[in-house]
């Protein structure tokens, strides 16, 4: 399975290596560096790179490449999924998974990697078990450790590994028992030139933050479970119960986790909450181009559209842009040709607009390409699919927990073609 792992930063330095079988020389990464050079953009590096004796599988997260060395047949997704799980674990431990964070915690990182794989095969990837084995570093603990000389390694032996609910440890205690659920929906859409929708889908997740004492058994039911077309669960969810009654029944992990991710059936029409009016044109022979953009709310069910951010990659021929926004601020990077406009909140009475001119290279012919406009926005207290949680019940413990549900709609990959 996974033979070795190299962590490579954006400038091509290997700053960490770990081997689970015999040592593989780091010169194997030369093939990887070649591929990076060949790819114009960092995200265009092929995830699987064959070399004469090995195969390199890499993922890119936060400008760090995680390069796994494989020697024999293994499903590539297995390795990719595992590498992402490693990054998630690091994020869980150190807050971020940057080069600096890894270097600062190199011993913890090493201990984690040691526990996560045995002979290249995943052993313990559940963050709950890992946290029992190796306590995450906190400022307080670091201070205490330096003074008392105690360690980060758990003194007790981890029992979670042996239990039937490996995602939850025993003996959890809280003074305030609370369970919060965030229903977050993202709209993925492509809008064409004329403003009609080419494709639009809603993807949602329910993220939970559960801090409950003991071994609570929760059930969550929806008003309209039929909306959910395709779902994937955290392993804690009892699949049979969902199949039979469309109820989520589970013993939750402790802390933050993703309970469910779902896709809303494509039969339902998606209410697109914003519209974009645009006029981006270049005239033949002139070194000026016109740029006009107006945003407006549409089908928002009375909720405000917030944190709106517009970005667009302008054609290479554009030298500079001279625009004036009616609200918010805009920036244009003349090197990458990236225009971004931080709009903020859309006021339905006074629609935000960005107007002005673009200067082109003199003498150059007008660009053929049409830029696409990428949109980001947020709408609080609205699940655009109409999904509603009916109730949340707890069994198995005597206290009354505090429960909270929050809804939010966001733009996913939301693109307007011009």
């Amino acid at each position: 399975m996974i033979h070795s792992l190299f962590l490579v930063n954006a400038s091509g330095d290997i700053f960490l290596e770990k081997h689970w079988k015999s040592v593989v020389s780091r010169s194997v990464c030369d093939y990887f560096f070649e591929a990076v050079e060949r790819a114009t953009e960092p995200e265009n590096v092929p995830p699987v790179i064959p070399t004469p004796h090995h195969c390199l599988i890499n993922v890119l997260r936060q400008r760090v490449y995680f390069v796994a060395v494989i020697q024999s047949e293994v499903p590539p997704l297995f390795v990719i999924e595992f590498l992402h799980r490693v990054v998630d674990t690091f994020q869980d431990y150190f807050g971020v998974c940057t080069e600096a964070a890894v270097k600062d915690n190199v011993v913890v990182v090493y201990e984690l990697l040691e526990e996560m794989l045995d002979n290249g095969f995943p052993l313990a990837t559940e963050s709950n078990i890992l946290k029992e084995l190796i306590k995450p570093p906190t400022i307080l603990r670091t201070v205490v450790n330096t003074i008392t000389g105690s360690t980060n390694v758990g003194e007790q032996l981890p029992t979670g590994q042996l239990s039937v609910v490996p995602w939850r440890r025993t003996g959890v205690k809280y003074t305030n028992n609370e369970a919060y659920f965030d229903v977050v929906e993202e709209i993925d859409a492509i809008i064409d030139k004329s403003g009609s929708t080419i494709t639009a889908e809603i993807q949602g997740v329910i993220d939970a933050c559960v801090k409950l004492t003991g071994m609570p058994d929760l059930t969550l039911s929806f008003m309209n479970p039929r909306l959910l077309d395709d779902v994937s669960f955290h392993p804690c969810v009892r699949f049979k119960r969902w199949e039979a009654e469309r109820i989520l029944s589970f013993v939750p992990p402790d802390g933050n986790f993703r309970l469910l991710s779902y896709h809303v059936s494509s039969q339902n029409l998606v209410a697109i909450p914003v519209y974009v009016k645009h006029n981006i044109s270049f005239r033949e022979g002139s070194s000026q181009g016109r740029f006009e953009l107006t945003l407006g709310p549409k089908q928002t069910m009375g909720k405000a559209v917030e944190s709106v951010l517009v970005s667009s990659q302008l054609p290479r021929g554009v030298l500079n842009a001279n625009l004036s926004p009616s609200q918010g601020t805009y920036t244009f990077d003349p090197v990458t040709k990236l225009l971004s406009w931080d709009v903020g909140k859309i006021n339905p009475q006074k629609l935000p607009s960005l107007k002005g001119s673009m200067s082109l290279q003199t003498g150059a012919s007008k660009p053929d390409e049409n830029p696409t406009i990428n949109l980001q926005f947020k709408i609080q207290q609205l699940a655009v699919s109409g999904l509603k949680v009916n109730r949340l019940d707890m069994y198995g413990e005597k206290y009354k927990p505090f429960k909270g549900i929050k809804y939010m709609t966001k733009a996913g990959k939301f693109q307007v073609r011009t």
Binding site: S72, E73, P75, L77, H84, L123, Q203, Y395
Partner: protein, 927 residues
């Protein structure tokens, strides 16, 4: 002294600065390299050792060589501090290979660890021991693995399974012995072991499919509870297994499909014969019936499509693709489309597999066409794969929408992607005749694009399209002839030249002129262009020798002295063919036929065609080349192998079991005598295991027979005192009788006593508020309870072996009564094999009254309904039982020592129950 100063100094510096400083200092004190670390490792303080180890590990992580510290580090292998120990393990595993002799020093520590009573320590000792790649210890490792494979704890057995591939890679000669261990572990019934042992199977002996037969059904059933990484491995292995054992569910359809596809070189006669043979085969074939085991696999893997782990979803998807009947494969599309929302690396792999799937089963993904639309923010490699899928999905009905989509792609800023889009349009046009003209027109328009790459790509694609119907398109050919002045991309130039040469009859005026221009620039062209110029010259010479004779001679002369030998060769060859001389052979007569033969139009094919002979989702499929260790996906067998090999041995007939039972009963009666030898008791264990299986069939008669009266008196517990209950008193006890209506329930005997002067009416249970899984069977309502009388009823409660209380209310009284009784829910005697169990040991001092064995036995059995098991030593008392609803085994051992001290050991799979039991028995014994 210097080192001390250096050391303190270092500690005050941040790591980055430290690194530089270390570089400088280590150069200066080269001779004393790592001396400070050695000193720290030799010190008595754990904190210094830890600091040293942390620095060493940081050095290993950066790829620095620290092997010279090996002796200093290995000394600390038995250190008490857990973190130091762990870091030493890390170091040891890294460098043991290089320092084989010194590594041997540490082995005894691990050998000791292997015998530790704590399962986690046993497991970690085995893990490190097996990771040390030193050939001398192979026999030790083999022994350790064998022992661990029959360990009580499933966790240790899992570690043993992990150790198998390690040993195999160290010494492949151990294969036969390791296969034996694998066979043993495959029979393991716990989910923890399943994934790891199948992994070992795949690495050591993937061809020993016969080992799977007996475990096939078990693996299918366990699958959903195995951890996710294990699931992937098991599913992939089962896909291969199923391909060898079951029949092709699509057998009838695939025959029909094949016959519709014409083989390129097959003559018509052959085809007819083929068809006849197939028809005959169809008639002969019996209607297909799916093996129930095949169905079991499909059914049990389906829920895993909902997994959050992309690798599991992909594994199930490939299983369905390779094994499911055509009608059922469709369900995987939805899940695969869902994965496309994930990280771009996941998308990349999924799209590769979807691209292969769409060639064979296009219909499956058609409803999700729009999910493959391309966004400008996608990375180029994803865009190109999506394009591939869209092209594969194109058919007569959706082509217009797809082409409209492609039109926007052509305007993209990403030129590689634009080129791929043009190719895609070309492929759509060749595959779907209706849109060929529209596509061609669109592509011709692109010829006036400003970007040269776009034009070049269009030229190449147009050339291919024109070959299909050249007569109608001489305009386009003329247009392209004009382009040759401007286009610089060699491939495009070569394409245009070939096109003009091939269809020179359609453009008789232009062709010679093009040759004239090309002759001028010949020396500066790329090789592929030069070859095409020679071709053009030859073709023109044959059709229009009057105008072009001199030009051709000129070109051939230039080519004769070209640097490239290919071109020189070609020139010589062509000259011989086309220019008639005395010596020229018979071939030159046919030169025209040779050069201007009708050429079949190229078929534009997906690069993913025929990739499905690799197992989908595998590395080999992705690379389109066999990776090391790849196991071919076997073809379906012609006729199914014997399905009975998967049958697990059926138990003996009923009467045989009865005799066992009676025998057992006799044994029970004399169980107080301790004369039985070890071997006998192990025999009885086997028998009782059979019994347990029978028990689950819940034959009440048999159950009654087995019940024996509990030893010791039954303790009554007060539920409701008569004062708080306003005259009504309620007491309960566990009667330790089986509750006949439901074997999973514990019988609770409740005694109501009416101490008031009036009658109490309608006593019954109301609104049990129970935890999930718990059940109560209520007693019949007591209509009247006269003053001063008492009534006893029995109710059944299924506690699900949990430690939670069952809450319910007694009507009329409005009291919420909580039974806190689960610790005593053991029933029925049982001596079982030790499965994987958690062991809890406690030392205690026996109470004053617990002087002899008899009292101990009495105390223990009073606390919990356990049965005494005979054992050899008189210092030891062993008890066994099992929990009522899930039948978990419980073993209790009390070892008495001198001076009233004793050790209590409880083994139970359920840890909570084990702990509670320890607490209770401790209390009972120390009183």
């Amino acid at each position: 002294m210097i080192h001390l100063i250096m050391d303190t100094f270092l500690r005050y510096l941040k790591e980055r600065e430290q690194e530089q400083l270390v570089k400088i200092l280590s150069f200066m004190f080269y001779i004393f390299r790592h001396d400070d670390l050695k000193e720290m490792l030799d010190s008595n303080k754990d904190s210094l050792k830890l600091e040293a180890m942390k620095r060493i590990v940081a050095m290993i992580a950066r790829g620095k060589n620290t092997s010279d510290l090996f002796p200093a580090v290995v000394k600390n292998v038995a250190c008490k501090n857990i973190e130091v120990k762990k870091l030493v393990y890390v170091y040891l595993v890294r460098y043991a290979e290089e320092q084989q002799d010194l590594a041997l020093l540490s082995i005894s520590t691990f050998q000791r660890g292997l015998k530790d009573p704590n399962q986690l320590i046993r497991a970690s000792a085995l893990r490190v021991l097996s990771s040390i790649r030193v050939t001398i210890i192979v026999p030790i490792m083999m022994l350790a693995i064998k022992e661990a494979a029959s360990d009580m704890s499933p966790y240790v057995r899992k570690t043993a399974a992990h150790a198998i591939p390690k040993l195999h890679s160290l010494d492949p000669e151990q294969k036969d012995q390791l296969i034996e261990v694998i066979e043993k572990l495959l029979a393991d019934k716990t989910t923890l072991v399943a994934g790891s042992v199948v992994m070992a199977f795949e690495e050591v002996c993937p061809d020993r499919i016969d080992l799977i037969h007996k475990n096939y059904r078990k693996l299918c059933n366990l699958l959903i509870d195995v951890e996710e990484w294990g699931q992937v491995v098991i599913i992939n292995m089962l896909t291969r297994y199923a391909r060898t054992q079951f029949l092709n569910p699509n057998i009838n359809e695939s025959l029909l499909e094949d016959s519709s596809e014409k083989a390129f070189y097959a003559s018509d006669d052959e085809e007819d014969e083929d068809k006849k043979a197939e028809a005959a085969a169809l008639v002969k074939r019996k209607p297909y019936v799916m093996d129930p085991d095949h169905r079991l696999l499909l059914r049990n893997t389906k829920p895993l499509l909902q997994s959050r782990n992309a690798a599991v979803v992909m594994a199930v998807a490939q299983l369905y693709f390779h094994l499911a009947p055509k009608a059922e494969v469709g369900i995987i599309a939805k899940a695969l489309v869902r994965l496309m929302r994930s990280h771009s690396e996941v998308q990349y792999v999924v799209l590769q597999n979807v691209a292969t799937m769409t060639i064979k089963r296009r219909g499956m993904f058609e409803p999700y066409l729009k999910s493959f639309y391309i966004r400008s923010t996608d990375p180029t490699q994803i865009k190109i794969l999506k394009l591939e899928v869209l092209t594969n999905l194109a058919n007569e009905t959706n082509i217009s929408t797809i082409l409209r989509e492609f039109q926007t792609y052509i305007k993209s800023m990403d030129k590689d992607f634009v080129a791929a889009s043009i190719q895609a349009i070309g492929r759509c046009a060749t595959n779907i005749g209706e849109v060929r003209d529209t596509c061609l027109n669109g592509l011709v328009q692109l010829l006036s694009n400003r970007d040269e790459l776009v034009v070049a790509e269009s030229v190449v694609v147009i050339k291919k399209l024109l070959q299909m119907q050249p007569e109608q398109h001489s305009d386009i050919i003329k247009h392209m002839a004009k382009l040759i002045d401007n286009i610089q991309v060699p491939m495009a130039r070569a394409s245009i030249l070939w096109l003009i040469g091939e269809y020179c009859e359609h453009v008789p005026k232009i062709a010679p002129d093009v040759l004239r221009k090309m002759a001028k620039t010949f020396t500066n062209e790329e090789d592929i262009v030069k070859l095409q110029i020679i071709n053009l010259a030859a073709k023109l010479y044959l059709t229009n020798s009057k105008q072009t004779k001199l030009l051709t001679q000129y070109v051939l002369n230039l080519a004769k002295y070209d640097q490239n030998y290919d071109i020189r060769d070609r020139a010589r060859f062509i000259r011989q063919l086309i220019v008639p001389t005395d010596k020229s052979g018979a071939l030159s007569k046919y030169a025209k036929k040779l050069f201007l033969a009708l050429k079949p139009a190229p078929v534009l094919e997906s690069p993913f065609k025929d990739r499905d002979h690799f197992q989908l989702g595998s590395l080999s499929h992705l690379l389109n080349a066999k990776a090391g260790g790849y196991q071919e996906l076997p073809e379906w067998p012609e006729s199914a192998p014997d399905p009975s090999v998967r049958n697990v041995e059926v138990k003996d007939s009923v009467c045989a079991r009865r005799t066992v039972l009676t025998g057992k009963a006799v044994k029970n009666q004399k169980s107080s005598s301790e004369s039985e030898s070890e071997s006998e008791s192990s025999e009885s264990e086997d028998e009782s295991e059979e019994e347990s299986e029978e028990e689950s069939e819940s034959d009440t008669n048999i159950r009654k027979k087995k019940t024996i009266a509990p030893s010791g008196s039954i303790k009554m517990y007060e539920l409701l005192h008569r004062i708080t209950g306003e005259g009504l008193a309620v007491e309960y006890c566990f009667s330790r009788q089986p509750f006949s209506p439901d074997p999973n329930m514990v019988a609770v005997q409740i005694q109501f006593t009416n101490n008031t002067n009036s009658e109490t009416k309608n006593l019954h249970i109301e609104e049990p508020r129970l935890q999930s899984g718990m059940r109560i069977r209520e007693f019949a309502e007591i209509e009247v309870l006269a003053a001063g009388e008492s009534v006893t009823v029995v109710m059944g409660i299924d506690f699900c072996d949990s430690t939670q209380a069952a809450n319910f209310q007694l009507k009329d009284l409005k009291f919420s009564l909580a039974f806190n009784l689960t610790k005593r829910c053991f029933l029925s005697l049982f001596t079982g094999k030790l499965m994987g169990m958690n062991e809890i040991s406690e030392k205690l001092t026996l109470g004053e009254k617990c002087v002899n064995e008899h009292v101990i036995v009495e105390r223990v059995t009073a606390t919990a309904n356990l049965s005494r098991v005979p054992c050899g030593s008189d210092k030891e008392c062993r008890f066994a039982g099992k929990t009522v609803s899930s039948g978990c085994l419980v073993l209790v051992t009390v070892t008495t020592k001198e001076g009233g001290r004793a050790q209590l050991t409880v083994n139970c799979e359920k840890m909570v129950i084990g702990t509670m039991l320890v607490k209770d028995i401790m209390q009972a014994l120390s009183q």
